[in-house]
C-alpha cells in the first residue's frame, strides 16, 4: 500500500519523473503514428491494387483459354460469387500523340462486366463531380459543374467506346476505344492540391512547365497499340498495330498501375491477338465453279469443318463478401478451383487442366508489392523502436538519480519494516506509473496527430511551405493513416515495458541498500 501512496506522491511532486513520462509519451506517440501511417499506406496500396484485380483470378497467360462464357456462367451460379468477368492481359507498345512509344500492360475488358467485378467505373477520372477535392479550396478542378463533355467521357469510358458521327449517314456510331492510366500519356501532372489540372503541360528540360494545347489527350486524338499475337502453341505470329481513340483515363491511385496500364475493349484486343472466334473451312474442293456458260459460274460456299471459340487469358471473380480478409480470399480460391475442375471435366482436352491453371487471390497477385511495403513497415518500425529504446535509458538515468536522492527515505522505509522486495516493488510500481502516464499521454498525442494528420500537414504547408507528403510523389491525395487497436495495445505495452525495464536496475539498487548506510546518507 505504501508503494501506491509514495508512487502517487513522487509522481505529482517531482519534475524529473514527468520528464521521464514525457520521453515515454513521445516515443510511444512516434511509434503509433509511424505504424498508423505505414499501416494505412499498406491498406491503401492493397485496396488500390485490388480495385482493378477482383478477389480471385483464373489465369492462363498469353494463349488464353476457351469457353470462358460458360465458365463465367458456372461461377456466377455459385452463391458465394457475386460476378465474374473475362479479361485478356498482354504486353505491348503504345504510340502516343507526341511521338513517344512506351511499353505498357494492355488489358482487354468488357466494361460493364469488368465494373461488376472490380472498381473500374469508380476509377474513371474524367467525369462530372459535384464536390471539389479537399484541398481544392478555389474550386479550380475543371470537372466541377455540369458539363456535357464530362458526362460523355464518363459514359464512353464505362463501355470503352468513343461515340463519333458517321460520315456517310451522319448517325452516331461507337468506335472501340482505350482507357489508359492517368499517368500513361505523360501529359497529366498532379498538383499539390490533389487533382489534375485538365490543361496538360510538358515539363521542359529546364524544369519549367510548357502548356500543351490539348485536353486529356487531344480531344480527337488517338493512340496506337502494338501487340504480338501468338498461336495456340505460344509461337509469335506477326506484330499487329491498331489505332484507337481515347475514351477516358483511369486513376487507381497506384502509380505502378496508372503509369503502365491501358484498358481496351475486349473484342478489339481479341481481334488483334487472334483470340476471337474463328472457323476452319474445308479447302480441298474448288472455291469457284467455272463453266463455259457464264450464267452457270458460281462461288462455292466454303464448308466449315471446325470452329475455334474465342479465348481470354483471365477470368476475374468477385466474392459476395465485402471482406478484405486474406482467409476469405483463400476460401474463395478453393471454391473457384472446384468450379473450374467441373468445367475442365466438361471440356476435357479443350481447356487447361485444373492442375495447370493458375488460380490466384488478390493477395497472391499483389504479393510482391504487399511484401515490399510490409518489410518497409517492419524496417521503419524497427528503427523507431530502436530509437525509442532511449526512453528505457532515460527512465533508468532519472530513476538512478532519484534512488540516490531518496536514499535516506529508503532507509526510513526499511526501518519501519519495508522489505527489500517491497522497496524494489515501490520503484517498479513507480516505473509502471511513469509508463502508464507516458503511454496515456503518448496515445492521446498519437490519436490527435493520426486523426488530424492531413490538417496538420495542410497547416505546415500553408505556414511553412513544408509539404512532407507530396501527392505528386505518393499519388495519394490524403496521407493514409489507420489506427489499429492491436497495434496501439502492442505499442502501449511496449511503453509500459520500457519504463519497467528502465526502473529495474535502480529498483534492484534500492532493494540492495544497507538500511543503516541509507539512513546515514547525506
Amino acid at each position: 500500500m505504501y508503494q501506491l501512496l509514495l508512487t502517487k506522491r513522487y509522481l505529482t511532486s517531482k519534475i524529473m519523473p514527468l520528464l521521464a513520462a514525457l520521453a515515454v509519451a513521445l516515443c510511444t506517440a512516434m511509434v503509433i503514428v509511424v505504424w498508423s501511417v505505414m499501416g494505412g499506406f499498406l491498406v491503401m496500396l492493397i485496396n488500390s491494387g485490388r480495385t482493378l484485380s477482383g478477389d480471385v483470378s483464373i489465369s492462363w497467360p498469353i494463349t488464353g483459354f476457351a469457353h470462358y462464357e460458360e465458365l463465367i456462367k458456372r461461377l456466377e451460379a455459385n452463391p458465394e460469387i457475386a460476378a465474374a468477368a473475362p479479361v485478356i492481359e498482354t504486353y505491348g507498345l503504345i504510340g502516343l500523340p507526341d511521338g513517344r512509344t512506351e511499353t505498357v500492360s494492355i488489358k482487354g475488358i468488357d466494361g460493364p462486366s469488368f465494373s461488376r467485378v472490380t472498381g473500374f467505373e469508380d476509377t474513371l477520372y474524367w467525369r462530372p463531380i459535384n464536390t471539389p477535392t479537399e484541398k481544392d479550396t478555389t474550386r479550380a478542378d475543371l470537372r466541377l459543374g455540369k458539363h456535357d463533355l464530362w458526362k460523355q467521357l464518363f459514359e464512353g469510358g464505362k463501355r470503352l467506346v468513343r461515340t463519333e458521327v458517321s460520315k456517310s449517314d451522319r448517325k452516331p456510331i461507337d468506335r472501340p476505344a482505350v482507357v489508359p492510366g492517368i499517368s500513361v500519356s505523360g501529359f497529366n501532372f498532379r498538383e499539390p492540391w490533389g487533382f489534375y489540372p485538365g490543361l496538360p503541360f510538358i515539363r521542359t528540360t529546364e524544369g519549367a512547365k510548357k502548356p500543351v494545347d490539348m485536353f486529356m489527350l487531344p480531344v480527337d486524338g488517338t493512340v496506337t497499340l502494338n501487340v504480338l499475337p501468338m498461336d495456340s502453341k505460344g509461337r509469335a505470329i506477326e506484330m499487329v498495330a491498331r489505332t484507337f481513340p481515347v475514351a477516358n483515363e483511369f486513376h487507381s491511385g497506384l502509380y505502378e498501375i496508372d503509369h503502365k496500364t491501358v484498358f481496351v475493349q475486349l473484342g478489339a484486343l481479341q481481334d488483334m491477338l487472334k483470340m476471337n472466334r474463328a472457323e476452319t473451312i474445308d479447302r480441298s474442293g474448288p472455291t469457284v465453279v467455272i463453266s463455259d456458260d457464264p450464267s452457270k459460274e458460281e462461288f462455292v460456299t466454303p464448308v466449315v469443318v471446325s470452329e475455334a471459340p474465342a479465348r481470354v487469358t483471365n477470368v476475374l471473380v468477385r466474392s459476395k463478401r465485402e471482406s478484405y480478409d486474406t482467409a476469405d480470399a483463400d476460401r474463395l480460391a478453393v471454391v473457384v478451383a472446384d468450379i473450374y475442375r467441373e468445367f475442365a471435366e466438361a471440356h476435357a482436352g479443350k481447356v487447361p487442366e485444373p492442375s495447370s491453371i493458375r488460380i490466384l487471390t488478390w493477395v497472391d497477385q499483389n504479393r510482391t508489392m504487399i511484401t515490399a511495403v510490409k518489410k518497409e513497415t517492419a524496417l521503419v518500425l524497427f528503427i523507431f523502436c530502436f530509437v525509442s529504446l532511449t526512453a528505457v535509458f532515460l527512465v533508468l538515468a532519472i530513476f538512478w538519480a532519484m534512488v540516490s536522492e531518496k536514499t535516506r527515505d529508503i532507509g526510513v522505509l526499511r526501518a519501519v519494516g519495508a522489505s527489500r522486495s517491497g522497496v524494489a516493488g515501490l520503484w517498479l510500481l513507480y516505473g509502471l506509473a511513469i509508463g502508464l502516464v507516458g503511454s496515456g499521454i503518448g496515445f492521446t498525442l498519437a490519436y490527435l496527430v493520426v486523426t488530424n494528420i492531413n490538417g496538420i500537414h495542410e497547416w505546415l504547408g500553408q505556414k511553412l511551405n513544408l509539404y512532407i507528403w507530396d501527392p505528386r510523389v505518393y499519388y495519394f491525395t490524403r496521407i493514409p493513416s489507420q489506427l489499429d487497436p492491436t497495434h496501439v495495445v502492442i505499442v502501449l505495452c511496449g511503453g509500459l515495458l520500457a519504463s519497467c525495464l528502465g526502473a529495474l536496475w535502480p529498483a534492484a539498487r534500492a532493494a540492495r541498500m544497507n538500511p543503516v548506510q541509507a539512513l546515514r546518507f547525506e
Binding site: M1, L6, R9, R414, A415, V416, G417, V516, L519
Partner: protein, 254 residues
C-alpha cells in the same frame, strides 16, 4: 571484560515487569573501512525488561547507534569466528541473529519503533501519512484498505495525544524541529511496538524543545512503553530507569 548491565538494573516505576523482553549477548560488530577493520562493538550484553526505559550513554563513536541498530534488526552482528561465543539477540524467545530476513522485516514492522535524531520524515507525505505509512508496511494492500479507517483514527488519536492534531495535513517542511520529532514518535508508535528505539532524539533540537520531547518520552514510559534511548547527554540519560554506559564498544555500567 564485558559487564552485564541487566544484572545491575533497578526498577523505579511500577509500570514494568522484571521479565526481559530483549536480551542481547556478546554483540560484536566490525566495520570495514577500506582495508582496515574497525571493531565498533566488542561483546556487548544487555537486557531490556518490559516497560523499562534504558538510556545508552556514550561519546561519539562509542558504538551506541550501532548497538541500537542491531537491537532494532536494522543491522547484523559479526559472524562468530574461532573460539568466541556467537552473538545473539533474544526477543521473546527468538534469536534475531538467526531468523530469516523476512522475519526480521516483520520484527521491525511490529515489535520495534525507531525515532531518529534527524526525524527522517518523508518530505512528500503529510503528517498523517508519515504516521500511517508505518502501518502500511505492516499489512498488505487489501488489509490496509479494509482497516484504513481504524488506522487513520489511531493515527489521529496519537497525533492528538502529542499535540499535533492541528498539523495533520501539513508537510514536514512546514513543521518546526520539535513538531517533526513528535511526528516521528507517532510514526514509531502507530504499530504499538513492544520497544521504542530512539537515537539521539533531542540531538537536533534546542534545549527547551528537546526538554518537551523528553517529557513526551517520560509520559510514554509512564504509560508502560519500553524504550531504549541513545544519547551522549547525561541529563537526558538521567531521565531513564537505567543508564548503560558504552565505552569503546563495551558496556561499562548502568
Amino acid at each position: 571484560m564485558t559487564a552485564v548491565a541487566s544484572s545491575k538494573s533497578s526498577i523505579r516505576t511500577g509500570a514494568r515487569s522484571t521479565e526481559a523482553i530483549l536480551h542481547a549477548t556478546n554483540l560484536r560488530k566490525t566495520y570495514q573501512l577500506g582495508r582496515t577493520k574497525v571493531p565498533v562493538l566488542r561483546g556487548v550484553e544487555l537486557s531490556i525488561c518490559g516497560g523499562e526505559s534504558v538510556a545508552i550513554l556514550g561519546a561519539s563513536g562509542s558504538g551506541k547507534s550501532t548497538l541500537l541498530h542491531l537491537l532494532g534488526g536494522l543491522d547484523t552482528v559479526d559472524r562468530a569466528s574461532g573460539s568466541e561465543p556467537a552473538s545473539s539477540i533474544m526477543f521473546r524467545g527468538q534469536d534475531l541473529t538467526r531468523v530469516s530476513v523476512r522475519k526480521l522485516d516483520d520484527y521491525r514492522r511490529r515489535r520495534v519503533g525507531f525515532v531518529f535524531q534527524f526525524y527522517h520524515l518523508l518530505p512528500e507525505l503529510t503528517v498523517l501519512q508519515n504516521v500511517t505509512i508505518a502501518a502500511m508496511t505492516a499489512m498488505g494492500t487489501f488489509e490496509y484498505w479494509r482497516k484504513r479507517g481504524q488506522i487513520r483514527s489511531d493515527a489521529r488519536e496519537l497525533l492528538d495525544r502529542i499535540g499535533l492534531s492541528h498539523r495533520i495535513a501539513h508537510r514536514p517542511a512546514e513543521l518546526s524541529g520539535g513538531e517533526r520529532q513528535r511526528v516521528a514518535i507517532a510514526r514509531a508508535l502507530i504499530n504499538k511496538p513492544d520497544l521504542l528505539l530512539a537515537d539521539e532524539p533531542t540531538g537536533n533540537l534546542d534545549r527547551v524543545t528537546g526538554g518537551s520531547i523528553l517529557d513526551l518520552f517520560t509520559r510514554l514510559h509512564k504509560e508502560g512503553q519500553s524504550m531504549v534511548i541513545v544519547t551522549h547527554d547525561e541529563t537526558t540519560a538521567a531521565r531513564s530507569d537505567r543508564v548503560v554506559r558504552l565505552v569503546d564498544g563495551r558496556v561499562q555500567g548502568g
